[in-house]
Amino acid sequence: MKNGVRTRREAADLSQGELAEAVGVTRQTINAIERERYDPSLELAFKLAAYFDCRVEDLFDPELDGDLTA
């Protein structure tokens, strides 16, 4: 699923490992989400959205045509 995790993580100057630790998953999981090879569970999606202080739909775009960089 298309998402803005990498954009927001880099804007926050975080490494994948730091974000992974903050939301309780492995660095590989964050990497897979950013590469759109793994769709996170609802629980993890909400954790990521809460971490970046945004809505889930601002972070993940199942329609593949939204603006996720805001």
């Binding site: 630790e21 309780g24 202080d53």
Partner: protein, 138 residues
């Protein structure tokens, strides 16, 4: 946005260390067991094997760190589905070929192959039981 500590990631490092310890215990136990059996110490080999298993269980249950996350479980689920699909294809084709070969007198199925096919039948029986158990709890 939640602030994150920029120091090294101790929890993640611990996860990686404990995972290596878990799989390493099993690997070392199996390897040492094989060597000891080869050297004609079968009982000691079995003891070392169980030591590795118990050490792995101790690591798994004894730490407060989550060793596996949701992606690990997703990968396991997909690998299990693929395994069952491959097993089903082997069983369907293998059992049919074995029956046909025996009926037409083309070949005799060896006890090894026959045992393996019954093993697959047992696997699917176990799968059915597990499926029913999980469904009842969900």
């Amino acid at each position: 946005m939640t602030q994150v500590q920029r120091s090294p990631t101790p929890r993640l490092s611990r996860r990686r260390r404990y995972r290596r310890l878990l799989f390493g215990s099993i690997g070392a136990g199996v390897l040492a067991s094989l060597v000891l059996r080869f050297l004609d110490y079968p009982v000691l080999g079995e003891a070392v094997y169980w030591l590795g298993i118990v050490a792995a269980l101790a690591v798994w249950r004894g730490t407060d760190v989550a060793l596996f996350d949701e992606r690990d479980r997703s990968l396991e689920r997909r690998a299990s589905q693929l395994t069952m699909t491959v097993a089903a294809v082997i069983l369907v084709l293998g059992a049919s070929a074995a029956r046909l070969g025996a009926t037409l007198g083309l070949f005799e199925v060896s006890p090894f192959v026959s045992g393996a096919l019954y093993g697959f039948v047992g696997l699917f029986g176990l799968f059915a039981l597990c499926y029913l158990w999980v469904r009842a709890r969900t």
